[in-house]
């Protein structure tokens, strides 16, 4: 009936900045190696409770973060370690938090599902899908009142996009022309439910039409495309042009979490992983563009690996919160 493509906006593509691209590549690698480590730690019960690794979303999270200014605010999803890493959060404090240690970002009270790092402008992860959208709108209200020139990027999954908060939040942001970028990471799956069954829209991005805001549908495994798109949307927002909606398409390579073997997933999908692996893609781009050599990449890997290993070691050495202290601190208080 309607040609979806015509309803979408396409960001102006910027020439690749070598220095910046190298930085982005490094971050993508950091996220991947960080997550491979967290999965190991989960399987050896050093990381406890929940774990939702960003594998597959590295380029989306890194590219989006790069498109923002330092002072801008990010609401990550429950699968959002990549945002923390891209914002330069402390690997030590991240690992410690995932391990439930007192030295973690939130004294070991937030874990994977509720982490927050105000020092790098990252808001609290919410375990209730989609609940962060109106909260992001609220930060937009604050930016507007405070005339602080900030923008908020609100990430959410293709699954979370089914929640009514999507509608209420986009509507509010659009009538108030708030500086908010809605960033839907469509990794094809919401637990066992495929994106294709979850909506009849070809892409969430075309829903932007209903809120008179630009809608972008981008390849979320292409870091530069994500960067250009978020940058355009963020700058529009900063200039008073209001919100945008971006859908970044990625692939969730593994199960929903490390204990999910994803038996529901069609075998063919796994076979296409190479085509969607953000690390492989960024690597090829860096090599093709001669921004990095194979040797550079190996060296990078070594450096990052060491940094992560140190963070793990540090985290393991930290203390768990003492039960008695915790009890004394909270009892009778709430």
């Amino acid at each position: 009936m309607v040609n979806a493509k015509e309803l979408l906006t396409v960001a102006k593509s910027l020439p690749v900045d070598p220095e910046l691209f190298r930085g982005l590549f490094r971050q993508i690698l950091e996220v991947r190696l960080f997550e491979e480590e967290t999965i190991q730690l989960f399987h050896s019960a050093k990381i406890i409770g929940y774990l939702h690794p960003s594998i597959g979303n590295e380029a989306a999270e890194v590219g989006a973060t790069a498109g923002l200014a330092k002072a801008d605010i990010i609401f990550p999803t429950h699968r959002g370690h990549g945002f923390f890493v891209a914002r330069g959060a402390s690997f030590e404090k991240l690992m410690a938090e995932l391990m439930g240690k007192e030295a973690g970002y939130c004294k070991g009270r937030s874990g994977d599902l509720h982490m927050v790092a105000p020092e790098v402008g990252i808001m609290q992860v919410q375990g209730i899908l989609g609940s962060q959208l109106p909260q992001a709108v609220g930060t937009g209200v604050a930016h507007q009142c405070q005339k602080n020139g900030r923008v908020t990027l609100c990430a959410f999954g293709d699954g979370a996009a089914g929640n009514g908060t999507f509608h209420e939040s986009l509507n509010l942001a659009s009538i108030w022309k708030l500086p908010v970028v809605f960033f839907c990471v469509n990794n094809g799956w919401a637990a066992s439910f495929p994106f294709t069954k979850s909506t009849s829209a070809a892409t969430n991005a075309i829903r932007a039409v209903g809120y008179s805001m630009p809608g972008y549908d981008v390849d979320g495994t292409d870091v530069w495309q994500v960067y250009c798109t978020v940058k355009e949307a963020a700058e529009r927002a900063r200039a008073g042009g209001g919100p945008s909606l971006i859908q970044a398409n990625t692939v969730r390579w593994r199960g929903h979490d490390p204990s999910d073997t994803a038996p529901y997933r069609p075998k063919e999908e796994l076979e296409t992983w190479d085509l969607h692996d953000p690390v492989r893609i960024a690597r090829k781009q860096a090599l093709d563009r001669k921004l990095l050599s194979e040797a550079d990449i190996e060296k990078l890997k070594g450096e990052i690996g060491k940094k992560i290993a140190q963070a793990v070691e540090w985290g393991l050495a930290q203390a768990l919160p003492a039960r008695a202290d915790y009890l004394a601190e909270v009892s009778g208080k709430f």
């Binding site: 009270r109 927050v116 909260q135 604050a142 009142c145 209420e168 509010l172």
Partner: protein, 324 residues
């Protein structure tokens, strides 16, 4: 002393706090030009402009979520949900977020926000506009809850709530907005967590909330003719509950009746009864009893309302049956 209506007192609290601190903003349906369904935000749009007085579409969940986000960025939002019944649409934002955000990020985040809403039966407007749902929020740790019963308390508690750095729910009552009472011209605050003995007595403690405070006072008046001296205590704050004041009163009277409009089952009366049994069992000469709303969904029928909630008469009867 100057007499103000309850809604005027709340309006004054908002004006004072918004004048003092430009971080205070108001978000809700019909709060702008219309001045709020119960006229609590009358004149505020003209005074503070549309950036601070934000009329919203009908989206209760987003109203609370928006206030939350704004608070996280250092604003001090007051969100209005005009009927507490609608708040069920925002229950996730309140229960899973507003209540919890600070606790799971200890020391990292502040959430200085107020949720103003109202409850109560009156005027025949039915089961989706007459509930008293305060107990739901009392069961979600992380929310302070105030329920002012007089213009004085309304202004003083709302001002305190706005200055508090943690989330506070201010639950008003539709039958109270037009009530007049003394409100000083000079600035004052009512502390959160402090009950108020609204009438002294020695034979029984009637613990009543919100509009029921006035019915209890009328009942106490009438009970005097029956030779019964009833003390009326208004907790004013449900969380944190001022257990000391309640226990002190019961120590004196040895009997207690809890009265509220909310349905009885799992209402705040259950909590007060349980707490008094735990803390004042030895001073009691009989069980703490409850006199509360019927466990029913209110019909949209003015004529049947008196069947569903306590009144001065029914409180008097109940007290007589206890002491008789």
């Amino acid at each position: 002393m100057r007499q103000l209506q309850y809604n005027e007192a709340l309006n004054e609290a908002l004006i004072e706090e918004m004048t003092r601190d430009e971080k205070v903003i108001l978000i809700g349906e019909d709060v702008g030009a219309y001045g709020g369904v119960f006229k609590v935000s009358k004149g505020l749009l003209e005074r503070f402009g549309p950036e601070r007085i934000r009329d919203t579409p009908i989206c209760e969940s987003a109203i609370i979520g928006t206030a939350t986000g704004a608070a996280l960025m250092g604003m001090r939002p007051v969100a209005e949900i005009s009927f507490i019944d609608f708040i069920l649409l925002a229950m996730d934002q309140i229960g899973n977020h507003v209540a919890k955000i600070m606790q799971i990020a200890p020391g990292l985040l502040e959430l200085p926000m107020v949720i103003r809403t109202e409850g109560g039966v009156g005027g025949g407007i039915g089961c989706q506009h007459s509930q008293s749902l305060e107990a739901l929020f009392a069961h979600l740790p992380g929310l302070k809850i105030v329920m002012p019963s007089t213009p004085y308390d309304a202004k003083g508690l709302l001002k305190t709530a706005i200055r508090d750095n943690t989330p506070v729910m201010c639950i008003e009552n539709k039958k109270l907005y037009a009530l007049k009472g003394p409100v000083p011209e000079e600035e004052y605050f009512v502390p959160i967590g402090k009950a108020d003995v609204k009438r002294e007595g020695k034979d029984i403690t009637i613990i009543a909330t919100s509009f029921m405070v006035h019915e209890a006072l009328k009942a106490a008046e009438a009970l005097e003719k029956d030779g019964i001296s009833a003390e009326v205590v208004d907790p004013r704050t449900l969380v944190p509950l001022d257990v000391d004041t309640l226990v002190a009163s019961v120590k004196k009277t040895a009997r207690a009746l809890v009265v509220h409009e909310a349905v009885e089952r799992c209402g705040i009366g259950a909590e007060i009864s349980a707490v008094l049994n735990e803390k004042a069992y030895d001073y009691l000469d009989g069980p703490v009893l409850r006199h509360a709303g019927l466990n029913v969904s209110l019909p949209q029928n003015w004529h049947l309302e008196p069947v569903c909630i306590p009144s001065a008469d029914s409180i008097r009867e109940k007290v007589k049956s206890i002491l008789g």
